[in-house]
């Protein structure tokens, strides 16, 4: 990635910062409600299911499967020269709950292909990434 400007996330947002704090510890974590354990995704403070404002960042097994993907052939941002692949990943622990991933180039993919998370440290900012797992 040398020479390419990176697009880094804001990591200290009140509602989503815990995702990146967990990533910095090497964990993939989702927001869960303390009142009823509902998954609050995208992260937010209030649980509409039980009315609780109390929540936690709970680690999940950092594995999932490919739900959908697109090979981007037309670059629109200097941080992302084409081709590259955007992934939608469904988490193994929480079926129906998805995260986004990025793979370089045009990898051979199929629906349901297993993926595993890794944690990329860019000058102190840690971003969860995904790679294809051997199955």
């Amino acid at each position: 990635m040398t020479g390419t400007p990176r697009l880094l996330p804001v990591t200290d947002d009140v509602d989503t910062g815990g995702f990146f704090e967990a990533a910095a510890r090497g964990e993939l974590a989702l927001r869960r409600c303390n009142g009823c354990d509902a998954v609050l995704h995208v992260p937010r403070a209030y649980c509409r299911a039980c009315g609780s404002w109390e929540g936690r960042w709970e680690p999940v097994t950092p594995t999932g499967t490919v739900y959908s993907w697109s090979v981007v052939e037309h670059a629109v941002h200097p941080a992302f020269p084409a081709p590259y692949t955007v992934l939608l990943v469904e988490l193994d622990d929480l079926p129906g709950t998805r995260l986004v991933g990025h793979l370089p180039g045009r990898p051979e993919l199929r629906a349901g292909a297993p993926v595993i998370a890794w944690f990329e440290d860019v000058d102190g900012t840690v971003v969860p990434q995904w790679r294809l797992a051997r199955s």
Binding site: P5, R6, L7, L8, P9, V10, T11, D12, D13, D15, T16, F19, F20, H41, V42, R44, Y67, S68, W69, S70, V71, V72, E73, H74, V76, H77, A79, F80, Y84, V86, L87, L88, G96, T97, R98, L99, V100, G101, H102, A111, V127
Partner: protein
């Protein structure tokens, strides 16, 4: 359930600028031209206008038009959004203003230099740090997911995986809209034909979506004049009666504008599922009653999913329905008869409203013979809107 607004208001005038890649005019000038054309079409003047509804993403404000056109006094203004889901909802605001006694003659407009000015699909992200402040971009943009086209590409791939939808079926939508544009001298793509070979041979943008799965980029403006049916009958054009309007959200829209919609339970359906239920009930009509439809077409896949979500075919059968010829002139549901956003121009949902009026008047360049009902949708990713126009009976 009877609806108090059913058949009580009408679109009495429509106006548009030319559609181009470089208007050479300000957005205010474009909107003023479209607004004056709509008033002229209705046989009205700026003196008659007392209400304005705009889109939240428009750069032209209500006071701009009051001053530039010489509107003596507004007693109502509002705005609807976000962006492309606004136009039928803007007409809905006009109806609400008129029936609640807050205005009598409402100008509804959308104008943009969508090609020569700020372009959609260009990432607006210029900072090195992205997201926060409720945008949720921090969960998407760092992975290179930065445009609506990429979102719809992920949805299209999933639709292919779940239902066996094919590229040729998406191509049938692109070529159908192009054929309508070829009939429409005002369309940006009027002079350019599009064959299936042309479609399949075009470069991939975000696979499986190709160049012609994407809508155009357009400089232009469109406006309509809304008033009561009674008053419209005394004006220059036959009224396009507003049978019903609707805005509706689903139970899980997800926060933010667009990227979090990829975390909805289903990414192979759109908020059209909600808008269609509310609109059909308010109209007392169903999909079988629709003679012609203007379906929001930011991308071909948006149309394909709406064919299902608006009830014209079963879930998963949108591709086969599109490829069957049903959406062409002479089919059971001719769509986007001016060429749509894919081939006429992208005025962010608004040109579909104008084309709907033309079908009811019988003046479309791809006129559906005897059309008496026209559905106009604006149901891409966020909670959206729709309306049904009918002939005056």
């Amino acid at each position: 359930m009877a609806t108090s607004h059913r058949d009580r208001c009408a679109i009495a005038g429509i106006g548009t600028t030319d559609f181009s890649r470089a208007s050479g005019r300000s957005e205010l000038t474009l909107v003023a031209q479209a607004a004056l054309a709509a008033l002229e079409d209705a046989g009205l003047t700026a003196q008659d206008v007392d209400g304005i509804v705009r889109c939240d993403m428009d750069n032209v404000r209500h006071n701009d038009l009051v001053d530039v056109l010489g509107i003596p006094q507004l007693t109502y203004w509002s705005e609807v959004g976000p962006g492309g889901v606004a136009p039928p909802g803007m007409v809905a605001q006009a109806v609400a203003a008129i029936l609640s006694g807050q205005a009598t003659t409402v100008l509804v407009f959308r104008g943009l230099n969508g090609r020569s000015g700020r372009r959609f699909g260009q990432s607006a992200l210029s900072e090195q740090r992205v997201g926060g402040a409720g945008s949720y971009d921090e969960l998407f943009a760092p992975y290179g997911l930065v445009t609506p086209g990429q979102i719809f590409a992920l949805m299209a791939r999933r639709h292919m995986l779940e239902f066996g939808t094919t590229e040729e079926q998406l191509g049938a939508i692109a070529t159908t809209c192009r054929a309508r544009a070829n009939d429409n001298p005002a369309a940006q793509m009027h002079a350019k034909t599009l064959s299936m070979d042309d479609y399949l041979g075009a470069r991939l943008i975000a696979d499986p979506l190709r160049l012609f799965d994407f809508c155009l980029e357009t400089d232009g403006a469109c406006a309509v004049v809304v008033t009561t049916v009674e008053r419209a009958r005394d004006l220059r054009q036959p009224p396009a009666v507003i049978r019903a309007v609707a805005q509706a959200s689903t139970a899980d829209p997800q926060p933010g504008i667009q990227f979090p919609t990829l975390f909805r339970e289903s990414i192979t359906s759109l908020p059209a599922t909600a808008v269609s239920k509310v609109l059909y009930e308010r109209a007392g009509l169903g999909p079988e009653d629709i003679d012609v439809a203007q379906l929001y077409d930011c991308f071909t896949i948006t149309v394909l999913m709406q064919l299902e979500d608006w009830g014209f075919c079963e879930k998963g059968e949108g591709g086969a329905f599109a490829a069957s010829g049903a959406i062409g002139l002479g089919g059971s549901l001719p769509i986007n008869t001016g060429g749509g956003h894919l081939s006429e121009g992208y005025v962010h949902g608004m040109n579909h409203v104008l084309e709907g009026v033309r079908q009811i008047r019988g003046s479309s360049t791809s006129q559906v013979p005897g059309a008496e009902t026209c559905l106009v949708t604006a149901t891409p990713l966020p909670p959206g809107s729709g309306l049904i126009l009918v002939a005056d009976r």
